[in-house]
């Protein structure tokens, strides 16, 4: 049996779905960002900074970063479960990954709003 204590959802099927939903969100965000860059030529730092003044861009970016973290949680969990066999080491690594992703989500809120 595969131990799911450090998985994101309660079942493997939930993890599967979360990975797909976050993947679609990230594709949409990347397409949107690419279109914005192509429409604002020449693209420079001033344009970039004014972009992040807009609330829409901040919320969209936060949404993308949270999606990255959820997506990475499921992905790295899978990789660690495949390659790290000693249970104690695997659980420790998975908890470290989860905590660092959580920290990076909080950090991104500070980056986007904390000034």
């Amino acid at each position: 049996m595969v131990l799911m204590a450090t998985g994101l959802g309660r079942t493997g099927l939930q993890d599967w779905l979360i990975q797909r939903v976050t993947a679609v969100i990230l594709i949409l965000y990347i397409v949107m960002l690419s279109l914005i860059v192509f429409r604002h030529q020449p693209f420079n730092l001033a344009v970039w900074q004014s972009l992040f003044q807009q609330p829409f861009m901040r919320y969209a970016t936060l949404c993308a970063i949270v999606s990255i973290c959820l997506h990475a949680w499921v992905g790295i969990w899978t990789v660690l479960t495949d390659y790290v066999k000693p249970l104690c080491l695997r659980l420790s690594l998975q908890v470290c990954v989860i905590l660092s992703l959580l920290g990076q989500c909080l950090w991104s809120i500070y980056i986007l709003w904390g000034r």
């Binding site: 970039w48 900074q49 990255i68 973290c69 990475a72 992905g75 990789v79 990076q104 991104s108 980056i111």
Partner: protein, 123 residues
């Protein structure tokens, strides 16, 4: 239970094209995961008022360009390989011969994108 013979010698195993793009999908994913804190740091310093001077020198240096090249190449490859999975989840292209063709296409697209990006960054 009888112990079955296991052959996991990486130099002997034959890797079909689908296995190669699968392992590259994983490798690029792990790499991108490791890049998250660095990219967040870049976002943070790019939004600071005093950013412009240092960013000019970083973006024009080989280290900065190399990092951009690696990250965007990995991201593009991970995205199209993931898109292939999403399309298969809908139920399209699941037969073996289509999966082989789409795998070759993904690999080719990834290589072409990396070359074009490198050309755009350095020339």
């Amino acid at each position: 239970m009888k112990k079955r013979p296991i052959n996991l010698n990486l130099f002997v195993i034959y890797f079909p094209i689908t296995a190669i793009i699968s392992i590259l999908h994983r490798l690029s994913g792990v790499f991108l995961f490791l890049m998250i804190p660095i990219l967040l740091f870049c976002l943070q310093s790019s939004l600071e008022a005093t950013a412009s001077r240092e960013w000019d020198s970083i973006l024009n240096g080989h280290l900065g360009k190399g990092l951009i090249w690696l990250t965007l190449s990995a991201l593009f490859y991970h995205l199209i390989a993931g898109l292939r999975h999403l399309i298969m989840d809908i139920g399209w292209g699941e037969s073996l011969w289509v999966a082989r063709i789409s795998a070759k296409t993904i690999l080719l697209l990834g290589i072409v994108y990396s070359i074009l990006l490198g050309g755009w960054l350095w020339y």
